[in-house]
């Protein structure tokens, strides 16, 4: 029919679908899942960093960290809004998250045990997120692509700040340098796994590529990321905990050592060090805030009725 034809045309042209356009149900469902997972990741991703706001070792770093975590709440807001244009409400998506029925990026189920983790998250985790997200700025669904443009701009700022934290530590006293290296060691493999399973084990990728909501394969993105890390880690004077990282002159791609996909699956299945804690904390904040949201709604209704009566 006409809708499908227009949709196919948009895909072929690599142009954009907007909220009122017809779209296949599966496209809509996939997008809602992908965007809401991304939004959930921003929200849950606030926790590991919020964990160090109160203990940041200088006021400047405290301000930068606070602003960063706050930006993540903002990203969550844009992304939930983008998903809402597809007909699913934020309440519903939040409900799925606190009920433990929605996914978010597994990386946030690792604990932040030292201040250097603030650097490693910024540099590596945000770095990986950027590699993933820059192509999404051209995603075929308009509101999603536009949200990603804003998100990516802020993320690259965050990545630079993370790099600076590590640089300062790497140039600090031996204990600080050790703290930085230790954080890089701990976050290296989990950040590589952020790109998802290897291509030969990634069943949904093909359809998402056809719909222009995925532009590069998991392994392509991972390789690009490894290259970025390998170059920048030298500036830091630190090292990656993977002796097999190298540039393959034949394939012109970066290669890395084997990853423990068994651990990845464990964490994904809820057995990460902080899965229960992250979810419980979100649930608690949601539950504790229930009476506040109710009050705001009741007040808005009263004011609306008053204005109505006055009009």
């Amino acid at each position: 029919d006409a809708g499908q034809a227009y949709f196919d045309h948009v895909m072929a042209e690599d142009s954009r679908i907007e909220p009122r356009d017809w779209m296949p149900d599966a496209y809509r469902r996939t997008l809602v899942r992908q965007i809401s997972q991304h939004a959930h990741s921003e929200i849950i991703g606030m926790q590991p960093e919020a964990n160090w706001i109160s203990r940041a070792p200088s006021l400047k770093r405290k301000a930068i960290l606070m602003a960063k975590v706050q930006d993540e709440a903002g990203h969550g807001l844009y992304l939930y809004s983008a998903a809402e244009t597809l007909g699913t409400s934020r309440d519903e998506m939040m409900g799925q998250l606190v009920a433990g029925k929605a996914r978010y990026s597994s990386i946030f189920n690792y604990p932040t045990v030292t201040w250097a983790d603030m650097g490693a998250i910024g540099w590596m985790v945000d770095g990986a997120a950027i590699c993933n997200q820059v192509p999404l700025c051209r995603a075929s669904y308009g509101p999603y692509g536009r949200a990603m443009v804003r998100v990516c701009k802020e993320e690259s700022f965050h990545q630079r700040q993370g790099f600076e934290i590590l640089l300062e530590l790497a140039n600090g006293n031996p204990a600080q340098k050790q703290m930085a290296q230790d954080a890089v060691n701990r976050w290296y493999a989990p950040s590589l796994m952020m790109f998802g399973p290897p291509d030969d084990d990634s069943p949904n990728s093909k359809q998402s590529m056809a719909w222009n909501i995925k532009r590069f394969s998991n392994d392509e993105l991972r390789s690009r990321f490894v290259g970025m890390m390998a170059e920048q880690v030298r500036v830091l004077g630190l090292s990656l905990p993977d002796p097999e990282v190298r540039f393959n002159e034949d394939t012109k791609t970066w290669e890395h050592g084997p990853l423990d996909w068994e651990e990845f699956k464990q964490v994904l299945a809820g057995r990460g060090p902080c899965n229960a804690q992250r979810l419980e904390r979100r649930r608690q904040a949601h539950d504790d805030g229930g009476w506040v949201r109710e009050a705001a709604t009741a007040y808005a209704a009263k004011m609306a009725a008053k204005n109505e009566a006055a009009a």
């Binding site: 919020a50 006021l59 400047k60 405290k62 975590v69 709440a73 807001l77």
Partner: protein
């Protein structure tokens, strides 16, 4: 002068301790918009604290971080209100309501301070604090007129925190000596009362009839809360004295 430094320290410590308290809400607020709003307010306060502590430190050759991380409890000059725990969202809103109406009157007058640096810091701060005022007043109305539960929580918050209002408006030898470089705290009380009363009246609430607490923060006599705040805030900086971050 050291007097101005001491004065900046009071204001800076108020802002720093409040920023520390508010920062806890980020990732725990009742809705995402409030994670952002409370985060903004915390950032503003932290910004004011940094300007004020940097200026205060100039009097003794210390940096903002030396003042924030390497003073002990009796050397802090924050008033008790700022040290009070977040409590539930209503308690935090009441604290914000008192603080922002107080700080607005303070910074508004300090824009005319005879000390140019204080005046400049105040000129920037007063605009931000005006937004904080609006934020807290809106929430006072929503909670007061929203549901029975929100109203009763708000009233409990008011009873809990109103005793700490008095300390904010106490004059002492320092503010007397500083004259027009500072503001006599007592001179702001009438405007504070009038403006907070307007909001409370619209919220159909009477000013709580509770006794005033003794205070003492400006002399380094603090509530039991400050020790815990500092233990957490300073732990890492103190573990690596002299380190750069």
């Amino acid at each position: 002068s050291e007097d101005v430094g001491e004065y900046a320290l009071r204001l800076g410590d108020d802002a720093l301790i409040l920023a520390q308290r508010l920062g806890h809400w980020i990732s725990r607020a009742p809705e995402l918009e409030e994670d952002v709003a409370l985060g903004n307010i915390a950032l503003d306060q932290l910004g004011h604290a940094r300007s004020l502590l940097t200026y205060a430190g100039a009097a003794w050759g210390k940096t903002e971080d030396e003042l924030a991380y390497f003073r002990r409890e009796p050397e802090f000059r924050s008033a008790h209100l700022f040290e009070q725990p977040n409590g539930d969202f209503a308690v935090t809103i009441v604290r914000q309501f008192i603080v922002s109406y107080y700080q607005y009157e303070l910074y508004r007058r300090l824009t005319a301070s005879t000390d140019a640096t204080v005046a400049a810091i105040a000129a920037k701060a007063v605009k931000e604090v005006d937004y904080h005022r609006d934020h807290s007043a809106q929430w006072v109305l929503r909670l007061a007129l929203g549901t029975d539960e929100s109203r009763s929580r708000l009233l409990a918050g008011l009873r809990l925190l109103w005793p700490y209002v008095g300390e904010l408006f106490e004059d002492d030898a320092l503010t007397a000596r500083l004259g027009d470089a500072a503001v006599a705290p007592s001179s702001m009380r009438a405007d504070f009362d009038r403006l907070t009363n307007e909001v409370l009246t619209e919220a159909e609430i009477d000013v709580p009839d509770v006794p005033s607490a003794l205070g003492g923060g400006r002399r380094g006599q603090h509530s039991e809360h400050l020790g815990y705040i500092l233990a957490e805030m300073q732990v890492l900086a103190r573990e690596y004295p002299g380190a750069s971050w």
